[in-house]
Amino acid sequence: MALNRDFIGRSYPPDEPYEVSRVKIKEFANAIGDPNPAYRDQEAARALGHPDVIAPPTFAIAITMAAGGRAVADPDLGLDYGRVVHGEQRFVYTRPIHAGDVLLATATVEDIRTAGRNELMTTKVELATPEGEHVCTAYSSLVERGAEG
């Protein structure tokens, strides 16, 4: 089913700020099996010039997926989540996320288009501090697979 094109350009302002903790970063690093000390040892992170332990480059998804999900979950969009696969993902960082960061996520539906039998939806989620410092922008492309045959 075609997705509702009215969603193109729709923006979702931040709701609750996300507080980045050392524990959550370590949990994420453990989950991806990465022993890098910059994710768990404050001294090691400081030696690299960071104020505290930093997060792996893909950690932002733990914040941005929920933010982008606000559009995805809106019944008016008409997305059948059971048919959705993750098509593309890209992160652009102004600086690494570190423990102690408080981040606000602003989500925007960038584009919705048809590709063959599939529907493609691209969202952009910007993470910034409450002071307005940009930290990361995450671009996600979701594919809703069309019916077979």
Binding site: K24, A31, I32, G33, R90, V92
Partner: protein, 141 residues
């Protein structure tokens, strides 16, 4: 920690030593919890097969994270990865007993100036190419 590569010494075409990363079901359960993505196709074999998959598959984002380890280990500082993007081209199927192995390689594609290099990444599981258009920008010393 690895020696950090220097911009002036890195040449276009230089290979980043390939790595293999094993994946077990346990990793996917841990990743579900850490990322908040609890889609049952990543941990429930019965559900995965019911929706037409050969078995449980890894989260695309888990695969992206593993390929990212090649970059962060090479750069010496994970914060040096300033841009990282991929297209998910095939799922990584993770059977209960054997698990799976992700093979990742990389090559310096372009020197961008200001100490930044573009790196092209390849990622496979068995014969399947699991990521395409995988590219990162890394800030070198």
């Amino acid at each position: 920690m690895a020696t950090r590569p220097k911009y002036d010494e890195v040449e276009v075409g230089a290979e980043i030593p390939a790595q293999t990363y094993p994946v077990q079901r346990l990793n996917l359960v841990m990743y579900a919890g850490a990322s908040g993505d609890f889609n049952p196709i990543h941990w429930n074999e019965r559900f995965a097969k019911a929706v037409g998959l050969p078995d449980v598959i890894a989260h695309g984002m888990y695969t992206m994270a593993e390929a990212g380890r090649l970059l962060t280990d090479w750069a010496g500082d994970p914060g040096a990865v300033v841009e990282y993007g991929v297209r998910f081209s095939a799922p990584v199927v993770v059977p209960d007993e054997e698990g799976a192995t992700i093979q990742v390689g990389g090559k310096v594609e372009e020197k961008l100036g200001d100490g930044k290099v573009a790196v092209a990444i390849t990622a496979k599981a068995g014969d399947a190419t699991i990521l395409t258009r995988a590219r990162a920008v890394v800030q070198l010393a």
